[in-house]
Symmetry: C3
Subunit: 408 residues, 3 copies
């Protein structure tokens, strides 16, 4: 029925827009949690990711990720987009949930997200040129091949691994690369000094907060669109589990961090919300409201300990990307075996195997890219540039040039 | 027809997302109109409201507000969510306009709004702990019981009181509590001194403006979703009346304030838009475009005089919440008896009775909560904390920590 | 089928909301790219445009733009809105893609956009009163008459001129007025001094970036809604071409400006994205993905040279509005004759004629308005006001009043 395709496609286009909007959320969160002197650099990286990411996904990513019939590990349906035609018009029987064009665009918006996660982790010290090359290779090649293993119908899909909207396929894929990157990059100057952990407060909490609220809204599309149709029961259940997990993640993170640090720390609240969202993403369509609240609450606690852990092992992650996207991504993926309709020992093992396979491809893939960049053009800016800020050196501009000049 | 449910449900999910997005609007408006030193505190409160509000609405609010068959005053359908099933699947015959899950989430997003209104009014001087307890009790208990009187099919609904999307049920419910709170709290230090009214300009007009535009957009969902289906005539008429009232509210407020104060005051323009939106909310589906423009224009004028009145009676409302949400909420509710399809003497009396009943429950409910808090743990921060800012004292952080450090 | 109308109308209402949201994008972009001391003035203008624009479009614009049967040059169906009725209810047979109310509101949101484009170009030096009068006349009269020539079924529509979503009808209409305005206004003090071009960096790059991302999102509605239904093939193709053109516009502008100026200039990246969006707008439903990428890439290059050209001819356009909206608007309109399904010599000539006709009405219309304003109440603020900032003089406020007061 064409009417149903039209409805489904409307929903999927809206979700596409919402996932696109997440890029503003990421950008505001990342600049909010970092220092003013690197603001333009982060914004620039995010603009590059979304624009180049879409072009790459059009050029090759879509056909790497959804190769059709393939060996389950890697396949490629050719460069560029080739819309399925019937009698010269777009074949609307392509899928009852969306058109070919919507399919491409929705998935394209997802593709860029993985790189955005890395952007936050490497902030304030990575060379822009190297980062851009990383984005091209990771978004263009690693992400879609990894994605094909499950969403493209590859071997992990055959095996029974479940990842509804990408706790692993998107968030951990970004998170592993973030982990490798910050390990190879090293900490920002002054972060770990004389056995102490330096405080590098972000420069704009309203931006960080706005970023998280926008990300939460974007997750309506990220998870809601992953139903791949407007099915009323599944889409609405998904929105409920998504929002409840976000809420309980935030509250849990706030409570745990308040107990531990005797302080109402807004960055923990923010990352707790994100942790809840990442955690629910793998099974958002499989959980009851109670499951969702529990998954979110555990994710919120994980955030507090995860952020402390990353600090403890002397890795410098300015925005908490590894705790949010990698650790909560793994948690959410495993939670599919522990909660909800799919829960069971076999499923849990499947989830573990999936996590391990993605760890392998992402660690290897990102290590090769970052390591080759490190030994060739370098990945880290000079100490002078880092101290004075990447904005002045890479962009010749200040993000807020005349602030304070006409104050009273 | 399942297709129609799917369409309706898509619309309702979108509206749910838009109402959620209003929380960013409120947060930006409130921090924009207050001083920099209390920014994190306000953001934190807003995060708490949306997360805890959703959890509470899941735990008990939804079933207090929509208890099914009840005595018309108070009823409770039990803790938690219990989705209606048929043959083990969600009963899609629950409502032709939305699924059970969408119903919960849409109403849950509304619930938190009432508390957000209070957040702005008590800004810059209320203890965070006390505010959080207030939120739990007011959003968890008072709001849903009050809501059941009309939207839950209670006695005011039986009587013929009309409130389409919540000029009274949401905005006045928040507004009355705001009024009680600022009366019990007292004015900020220096606000009323030697018979003069101190000027406390907000610290960020772009945030305030962005907040209002986001709120306007959110109102597409707030009013548009209150149709409770995607009925093409009603939803589109509602968006037209909503937007025209917002526009005429803004223009009217701007003109009246310019005439009175010989100054193009952007905060009046902003609050005029909000006043128009609150004013149209009770009857957005009943009005013609001309009615909507008149209702908005009167609301815009009310804002200018309302803000002056609050100052005159020595109440300190940093963001104008009482004028916007309470006074324009009452205006909009009464306007249903004066304009549009329901206009008439009997309806006007019904509206008056409704306003009075909500005044009663909200004043009593919020007074009890705030008064008990005041005589126990206290509701007001110390003078030192207020002067130095709540951000440093409650959160140990500054909202913009390194602004200005690397200026030229 | 009522179901199909309901779906289509839902899509059109969402698109209406997205086009409305573009006003926040424009506001943030414009304040981001200008100096802090004129921030409130710009925000105020944008609030005025959207509110007064909607009211004017309701009063007369809609009926000037869509007069029904008319002579093809000018027609008027009467003041106010008059919804088509059948048996006392709204006639749902009005159009299968939307109701009468949605039609008005969607087109009303477009109407204000043209004036917003001018707002950016005249920023930091134009009198607010004069600007508001300009808005009333240009949005109220010139825009809808010009629009009727094509979208109202006028002589250019008869002739075969094509402009899908307004590269010419919206963007160039704004762009021509911007060009006339900055020519009559003159440059800001210090912009062109001793043969050199002064640098006036904008005060807030995060706002500018957020503005562009919001505008891109808004374009989902601007172009997606211009299909005038939720037709799955056309809407989804349109979103794909729109996003690919934006992406390639940004990347192209970034590459060209980096080659020319050896600097990663974020404002070029931002304006390149906008240039790509404006460029694809005239033919977004006619292009293949490859066409879209090419059109966007050329638009991105045009931005770099266009901005330099405007500077070279000593016109002062603080936000690059002429390059983005006028030059890329013309490019996009001509591109319909060069790329995609309509490409051909005859179509190219039709496009040229269309561009010329809009140039004529817009240059003449805006010149008359601005010239009359200039010789009567004046269009330019005093040198003192310009130097000290329009915010303090026109609004008696600072946009960020207490920033820096409580820094450590």
């Amino acid at each position: 029925m064409e009417g149903l395709l039209t409805i489904n496609n409307v929903w999927m286009m809206i979700c596409t827009g919402l996932v696109f909007f997440m890029h503003l959320g990421f950008a505001l969160l990342e600049i909010g949690l970092t220092r003013q002197k690197n603001t333009i650099n982060i914004l620039f990286k995010n603009l590059f990711i979304i624009t180049m990411g879409l072009l790459l996904y059009c050029l090759l990513g879509f056909n790497l990720m959804y190769p059709g019939e393939f060996n389950g590990f890697i396949g490629f349906a050719g460069f560029g987009l080739s819309s399925p035609l019937v009698d010269g018009s777009l074949d609307l029987a392509y899928n009852e949930g969306y058109t070919y064009w919507t399919d491409f665009l929705f998935q394209g918006m997802f593709a860029a997200t993985a790189a955005t996660i890395v952007s936050g982790a490497v902030a304030e010290r990575m060379k822009l040129n190297s980062f851009m090359i990383f984005v091209i290779l990771y978004v263009g090649i690693v992400y879609p091949i990894a994605g094909s293993w499950k969403w493209g119908g590859g071997f992990l899909d055959e095996m029974g691994f479940y990842d509804f909207a990408g706790s692993t396929l998107v968030h951990s894929v970004g998170g592993w690369a973030a982990l490798v990157a910050i390990w190879l990059l090293g900490a920002r100057i002054g972060k770990f000094k004389d056995g102490k952990i330096g405080a590098f407060p972000g420069h704009n909490m309203p931006f960080a907060t706005a970023g998280v609220i926008i990300l939460w809204l974007g997750w309506f599309g990220f998870n809601g669109g992953s139903v791949l149709s407007a099915d009323p029961e599944l889409t609405s259940l998904t929105l409920v589990t998504t929002c409840l997990a976000a809420a309980s993640g935030g509250v849990s993170s706030f409570l745990v961090s308040t107990i531990m640090y005797k302080n109402y720390d807004i960055t923990m609240f923010l990352n707790g919300i994100l942790g809840g969202l990442v955690g629910i993403t793998a099974g958002a369509d499989q959980m009851s409201p109670t499951d969702a609240i529990l998954i979110g609450a555990i994710a919120g606690a994980i955030i507090v300990f995860g952020v402390a852990l990353i600090d403890k092992i002397r890795l410098d992650d300015p925005v908490g990307a590894v705790a949010v996207h990698l650790i909560c991504g793994i948690w959410g993926t495993l939670a599919v075996g522990l909660f909800g309709k799919l829960a069971g020992f076999d499923q849990f093992i499947n989830q573990l195997i999936g996590v391990a396979c993605y760890a392998a491809i992402c660690i290897v893939g990102s290590f090769i890219i970052f390591y080759l960049l490190k030994i060739t053009i370098g990945i880290r800016v000079s100490a002078k540039e880092e101290t004075e800020g990447l904005d002045m050196h890479e962009h010749g501009m200040d993000a807020y040039p005349d602030f304070g000049l006409n104050q009273h």
